[in-house]
Amino acid sequence: MNATLDAKLYDCRDAFAETLERLGEQDERIVVVVNDSVGSSKVGGFKKKFPDRLINVGIAEQNMVGVGAGLANAGFIPFVCAAACFLTGRALEQIKADVAYSNTNVKLVGISSGMAYGALGPTHHSIEDFAWTRAIANLTVIAPADPTETSQVIDMAAKTPGPMFLRLSRMGVPEVHDKGYNFELGKAATLREGKDITLIANGVLVTKALEAASLLAKDGIDARVLNMATVKPIDKAAIIKAARETGAIVTAEEHSTHGGLGSAIAEVVVENAPVQMRILGVPGVFAPTGEAPWLLEHFGLTAQGIYEAAKSLKTHD
């Protein structure tokens, strides 16, 4: 499925909010739990429609996740929505014990993840969340790339029992998937076929990987592009196939290079089909001051950055 990128940019929170409202109408068990984050989670519409089913616990993330687990125990399907940094950082033990270990049907929705909060700084960046959540057993981890995928992921989450962490951004992204796209849990989406190298990304970096593939094509390098929305359980088959068929992999994520998407892929690669990789992300530092797009440039999380990493691998062999 070769995506053609239209220029219009979307805030995936809108697709999230619309889907949640639609689900709320269909299923009375859907409830929303927030931490004074009605506006930033864009659940004002849900609140208007279902005032009783929007539970604002105040600025109290640990309590928020615990309350979510309790609501699940009482038969509801809670979507616990907060800035990804506070949801995961502050309430990690509640996520582990009350949600994952207790196996409660809680959907954790991390909003404005990655470096979307820009100049608000490292306290507000959520570039450790893949590593933290990925290390917890019995927790599905997904980072959709565009509005279509976001909507399908939310829909799937409501209908699929079990603990999940859904990582959303607020940065504008184009639609990268075709209208007929069908999100499959645990399956990578091949956005571009290619035989020379594979570029794997998720979230806001998928579109940059596609752009990088176009740049590489000009140099005669035929790059495969995978959207690895599901970080856990990871699509081993697609990774092994990519390693065997293309011989080199570049990963790109809006996350620390330690323990995130790149690490998850490397774990599969080294055990099954060792090939050279480049892992692009934030290289284990707290970001300097700067707006989100500036920070992405700063860390080379751009089409050019992915292109250069791919070139460096191809000149190696």
């Binding site: 009605v38 604002n56 600025i59 100049a119 001051t289």
Partner: protein, 278 residues
Amino acid sequence: MTVKPLISAHDLASRAKAQRKQNLELIYNTGMGHIGGDMSATDILITLYFAILNIDPRKPNDPARDRFIMSKGHCSGALYSTLANRGFFPVEDLKTYMQPLSKLNGHPDRNKIPGVETNTGPLGHGLPVAVGTAIGAKLGKQSWRTYVLTGDGELQEGSNWEAAMLAGHRGLDNLTVIIDRNRLQQGDWVEATNNLEPLADKWRAFGWSVSEIDGHDYDALLETFHSLPLEKGKPSCIVAHTHKGNGISFMQDHPGWHHRVPTEAELTEALQELGEKA
């Protein structure tokens, strides 16, 4: 250490007027910030930094300094303006607020800015750290004091109450918490979100001595800070009743002004209002 500067309530008030304007322009020029909470905290910060805290901007790491911890770190605009005006870094630097590579990040970073004691931004972190510095002063038999400024919505974080319990238990009378009681949080009124009242009684129940004052009244602020500890053998809690957006009529007590940025017309109107007030 330096001698505390002698400064009158009147002088503090005129400083505050100038600083509110400076703070507004900072946020307008940067296009980001938390104006409502900056304005409610300004008078408290100015009183502390210009009349109360035993600090020396030339020796920001002096082991004998008083510790001030800005727990409501989103109000960096007010903190940075105060620190610059007090001489911790050049006022010129304020222009770089939140610009690429600036030391003036949206939330304060002690490794970049002299005078910042701990990195805040996630709410509910200041008080536990302050309890730690206060215990440290007691252990080292030091006479310096610890002050921490929290928001009121921020008190919904459980970490505050864990720290409050420990401070009460240990009788940390070298510790003072000031609550910026502006009755608003990010999206709504505090009482509509998760009610805090009876707030003073909660602190008393945790072993603190409490004083409720007008957080924009310099005489009251000075008198209360000079009388610390409120009670020997107990930590002190000052509930400072304030107004979010204080001093600017169209911002004051409006839930919409948590982090809205004024338009050019709003900036002009706000500056005019502040200019008119003596």
